[in-house]
C-alpha cells in the first residue's frame, strides 16, 4: 500500500503515455494539417534540432537565471516584510490595502511601464518575476507568522526565552509549513511570468524561442518549447513538494 502511494509518478506516467498515443493516433488520421498539429515525431525532431544548435540550452539557462534572480529577490523581500507584518498586526493594518491592491494587478500588465523605466534589459524581466513571486509568498509568510499559537508562545515565556529566541524557536518553525507552501506557489507564478515576459520583451529565453518559432511558422518548435517549460515547472514543483512534505510529515498537530 505505502510503496504504491510513494510512487504516484508511475500512475501519472500511464496517463501521459495514453495522451501521447492519442496525439500520435490523431496525427496519423490527418484530420488537421501538420502545421496546425505537428506529430510527436516532428516535435521530437524539432527538440533534437533545438538541442544540437544549442538554442534550447541557452533559452533554458537564460530563463532559469531570470527566474532564480527574481525569485530569490522576492524571497528576501517577502520574508523580511512578511515577518514584520506578521509580528506587528498594527503595521499590517496599514499595509494591507496597498498589498491587496497591487497583488491583483497581473505582473505582465506592468510590462509596458517596466520597459519604459528599465529598458528591455535584464532588469525589467527580473523585476517582473519579482512582482509575480512576491505577493503569494509575502501573504503566506504573514499568515504563518501571525498565526503562531499563543499557547505555544506562552510556553516560551514560561521557560524564560527571550523575545529573540521565542522568534527563532517557536514563531519561525511554526510558520515554516506556510512559508514553504508560499515559496512553492511563488515559484510557479515566476515560471508563468517569465515566459510571458520573454514573449513581450526579450531577445533570449524560452519565451522568446516560442515567439521566434511562431514568426517562422514552426508549430513543432512551439510545442517542443512548451513541453520543456512544462517539464521544468514540474521538476521544480516536485523538488519543492518533497521539501514541504518532509517538513509537514513531522506533524503540525500537537493533539491538544
Amino acid at each position: 500500500m505505502s510503496s504504491r502511494e510513494n510512487r504516484p509518478g508511475v500512475r501519472g506516467l500511464v496517463v501521459l503515455a495514453v495522451l501521447l498515443l492519442l496525439w500520435w493516433r490523431v496525427c496519423r488520421l490527418e484530420i488537421w494539417s501538420a502545421y496546425l498539429l505537428p506529430s510527436p515525431g516532428r516535435v521530437a525532431r524539432a527538440l533534437a534540432q533545438l538541442w544540437t544548435s544549442g538554442e534550447l540550452q541557452d533559452g533554458v539557462l537564460t530563463s532559469l537565471r531570470r527566474v532564480g534572480l527574481g525569485f530569490l529577490g522576492a524571497c528576501c523581500a517577502a520574508l523580511i516584510l512578511g515577518v514584520l507584518n506578521g509580528l506587528m498586526p498594527r503595521l499590517a493594518a496599514w499595509t494591507r490595502p496597498v498589498v491587496h491592491f497591487v497583488r491583483n494587478i497581473p505582473p505582465l500588465s506592468l510590462a509596458p511601464l517596466l520597459i519604459l523605466w528599465c529598458g528591455i534589459g535584464e532588469r525589467a524581466k527580473v523585476l517582473l518575476i519579482f512582482l509575480a513571486a512576491f505577493f503569494p509568498l509575502f501573504l503566506n509568510v504573514e499568515k504563518g507568522i501571525s498565526g503562531c499559537s499563543p499557547a505555544l508562545l506562552e510556553v516560551g515565556r514560561a521557560f524564560g526565552l527571550s523575545p529573540w529566541r521565542r522568534f527563532w524557536k517557536i514563531i519561525l518553525p511554526s510558520a515554516l509549513p506556510d512559508i514553504l507552501v508560499g515559496m512553492q506557489i511563488a515559484l510557479g507564478y515566476s515560471w508563468r511570468a517569465i515566459v510571458g515576459a520573454e514573449m513581450v520583451a526579450a531577445s533570449s529565453g524560452l519565451g522568446h524561442l516560442i515567439l521566434d518559432a511562431q514568426y517562422m511558422a514552426r508549430t513543432d518548435r512551439v510545442i517542443a518549447c512548451i513541453l520543456v517549460i512544462g517539464l521544468l515547472g514540474y521538476l521544480c514543483n516536485r523538488g519543492f513538494e518533497g521539501l514541504v512534505g518532509r517538513v509537514l510529515r513531522r506533524g503540525t498537530d500537537d493533539g491538544d
Binding site: 515565556r157 521557560f159 524564560g160 526565552l161 517557536i170 513531522r250 506533524g251
Partner: protein
C-alpha cells in the same frame, strides 16, 4: 525558598464586566513541600498557577518569593512543539535550549517513555504527551514545579508510577511542588498540605505533614487521614 501569597486579587474582564476570580487569597508554599490545590472547576486554580509562573499580572496583593526563583510550569494541556520530537521538546527548556543527551535520556526514562525519544507529539497518546510536558518542566531545573492536573489522562498504574516519581523529585532534588488536582486520593498520597480554593480564597487548608511518606493509601492510618481531610473540606460546603 518559601513563597508567600498575601491578599492576592485578580479579576478578568469578561464581556464588559469584571469578574473577580481571586479575592484576597493568602497562601504559604513552604520550601520543598508538596502543596495540593483542589476546588471546583472554574474556581481559579489555573489562574493561580499562571500568576505564579509569571504569565498573568495580578491586580492587588503581594507575592513574596526569593529573587530569581525558577518556576517550571506543567500546563493543563501538554503544549508540546509539534515540529520537535520528544527529545527536542524536553531539551527545549534547557539553558540556552541545549542539554546533554544523557540528561534528556534520563528524563525520558523517568517519565516512562523509553524508546519514544524520536517520536513526534502527534504520534503520542494524551497521557504520554502530558508526561513529556512534565519532563520538559524538569529539564528547566526549577525550584518549584507548578503542575496543572498533570495526571488527569493517565490510567491507574501509570498514575501511581508518576506519583512515586513526584515523591522522588521532592525527596532527592528538594524541589517544591504546587499541584492542582481533582483527585482527593492523589492529594492525600502526595501532599504535605491540601488547600481548598473557593470564592477566590483559600477556604480550607489541611496539614498532612505529620503523616510520614511514603504513605500506604489503604492502611488504617490512611483512612483516618482521609476522614480528617474530608471533614476539613466539608466544613465550608
Amino acid at each position: 525558598m518559601a513563597i508567600e501569597l498575601r491578599d492576592l486579587h485578580k479579576s478578568f474582564l469578561v464581556s464588559g464586566r469584571t469578574r473577580p476570580v481571586l479575592r484576597g487569597l493568602n497562601l504559604t508554599l513552604r520550601e520543598g513541600e508538596i502543596t495540593a490545590v483542589v476546588g471546583r472547576s472554574g474556581c481559579g486554580k489555573t489562574t493561580l498557577l499562571r500568576i505564579l509562573a509569571g504569565l498573568e499580572p495580578w491586580d492587588a496583593g503581594e507575592i513574596a518569593a526569593p529573587a530569581g526563583v525558577r518556576m517550571g510550569m506543567v500546563f493543563q494541556e501538554a503544549r508540546l512543539m509539534p515540529w520537535l520530537n520528544v527529545r527536542a521538546n524536553i531539551a527545549f527548556s534547557g539553558r540556552n535550549g541545549r542539554m546533554a543527551p544523557e540528561r534528556v535520556q534520563e528524563l525520558i526514562t523517568r517519565v516512562g517513555l523509553s524508546g519514544y525519544g524520536g517520536a513526534y507529539p502527534a504520534q503520542l497518546s494524551g497521557g504520554m504527551r502530558q508526561r513529556v510536558s512534565l519532563a520538559r518542566a524538569l529539564a528547566y531545573e526549577p525550584d518549584w514545579l507548578l503542575m496543572d492536573e498533570p495526571f488527569s489522562a493517565l490510567d491507574y498504574f501509570t498514575r501511581a508510577d508518576m506519583q512515586k516519581e513526584l515523591l522522588e523529585i521532592q525527596r532527592a532534588e528538594r524541589r517544591g511542588i504546587l499541584l492542582v488536582t481533582h483527585n482527593l486520593d492523589e492529594a492525600l498520597f502526595l501532599a504535605d498540605q491540601v488547600v481548598l480554593l473557593q470564592d477566590g480564597r483559600v477556604a480550607q487548608a489541611c496539614d498532612l505533614r505529620m503523616w510520614q511518606k511514603p504513605r500506604d493509601p489503604v492502611s488504617r492510618e490512611a483512612a483516618a487521614w482521609k476522614r480528617k481531610l474530608l471533614d476539613c473540606m466539608e466544613e465550608t460546603r
